[in-house]
């Protein structure tokens, strides 16, 4: 697999994750538990796809091989996608969707907050813009965690089951590889352990308020989004998302 420079790889992690999470939210269209929630889910999705475009535009600029953000999003294979394993997991019921959203929001929030101080000006600018949106996303998903965790017996049970389903993918949220260490040393991204600490605190706090149990820290296992080692779900998601670009490679839309 081609690996780009550390920053470009990191931009792909951010952009691809937002894109895949946005795509999963699109799948909810017409199926949300209330019409108000249709608005809300699509709203978050819209923010995320917009963020993905910003990150991937910057990545495309750095890769500089003639591909633009659209080509990166709609023509790359699953092995070249760098998104978090968490966001590619199927939506499941509303509990799984909300738990995924919350764990991802908490990660995004602390990461973006730190990235507003990035030594890379463009990263700082995109982070600043995205942070406003993500602050709202985190607030909303935290509230849903509480409502559903501390709601009815059924909702509580569903939330516990949802956490059990996706928790194992959270090891990636505080993973740090050599590339990230180098970026952190250069002040482009925050230190991984500080970030992990903040994520841990937010998640523990919200889970406690939600009367939900926080599992032990997830351990890494075989799969790894940053190396394009995805679960089988991503390929199918991309097949759908990329259909038109793949079927009509010379078309202009």
């Amino acid at each position: 697999m081609t690996k780009y420079d550390e920053l470009t790889e990191f931009l792909l992690l951010l952009g691809d994750s937002a894109m895949v999470q946005g795509q999963r939210l699109c799948e909810w269209c017409g199926r949300a538990p209330a019409v108000e929630e249709e608005m809300a889910l699509m709203n978050v999705g819209l923010d995320l796809v917009g963020q993905a475009r910003n990150w991937l535009e910057y990545a495309a600029e750095r890769i500089n091989d003639g591909r633009d953000a659209d080509m990166l999003a709609f023509r790359r294979d699953e092995r070249a996608y760098r998104n978090l394993l968490l966001v590619e997991q199927p939506n499941g019921d509303f509990a799984v969707t909300m738990v995924k959203q919350f764990l991802y929001d908490a990660w995004q929030y602390h990461l973006l907050e730190a990235l507003t101080e990035s030594a890379d000006e463009q990263v700082a600018a995109i982070a600043k813009k995205s942070l406003k949106e993500v602050t709202y996303h985190l607030r909303r998903s935290s509230e849903w965690m509480e409502r559903l965790g501390d709601g009815t017996e059924e909702s509580h049970a569903r939330m516990e089951a949802a956490i059990d389903t996706v928790w194992r993918f959270t090891f990636e949220l505080h993973r740090c590889d050599a590339g990230m260490q180098a970026l952190a040393a250069a002040g482009v991204i925050p230190q991984a352990d500080e970030l992990a600490q903040r994520w841990q605190t937010t998640v523990a706090d919200v889970l406690e308020k939600s009367t939900l149990t926080m599992p032990e820290a997830a351990r890494s296992f075989y799969l790894n989004g940053r190396d394009g080692m995805h679960s089988e779900h991503l390929g199918i998601l991309l097949a759908e998302m990329q259909f038109l670009q793949r079927a009509y490679p010379d078309a202009s839309w």
Partner: protein, 93 residues
């Protein structure tokens, strides 16, 4: 019966203006009502502040009471500045 409560929504569109009634939303609690209202009524930068009030908590005048409630103020012109004529020499007041 609806599961969620009906809330009336009031949006202040700019600093310095009054909150204006824009419609309603359903929500389980007031916080959710604020967020639903934000997503629904301020998608296009329409607002800087939102109030939500449970619809059942609003007491309204029946419009058929219009005459006794509002007509009496019609002939109290002295409540309006234009009622008072001042000579031009006094200048702007």
């Amino acid at each position: 019966m609806s599961q969620w409560t009906l809330f009336e929504v009031f949006v202040r569109s700019k600093h310095g203006l009054n909150h204006k009634h824009v419609g309603s939303v359903h929500a389980a609690d007031a916080q959710m009502a604020i967020e639903n209202a934000r997503d629904l009524y301020t998608r296009r930068n329409e607002g800087v502040s939102i109030w939500v009030v449970p619809s059942a908590e609003i007491t309204a005048t029946a419009t058929d009471e219009k005459e006794p409630l509002f007509d009496p103020s019609e002939d109290k012109v002295y409540r309006h500045a234009s009622f008072y004529e001042l000579p031009d020499e006094v200048g702007h007041m």
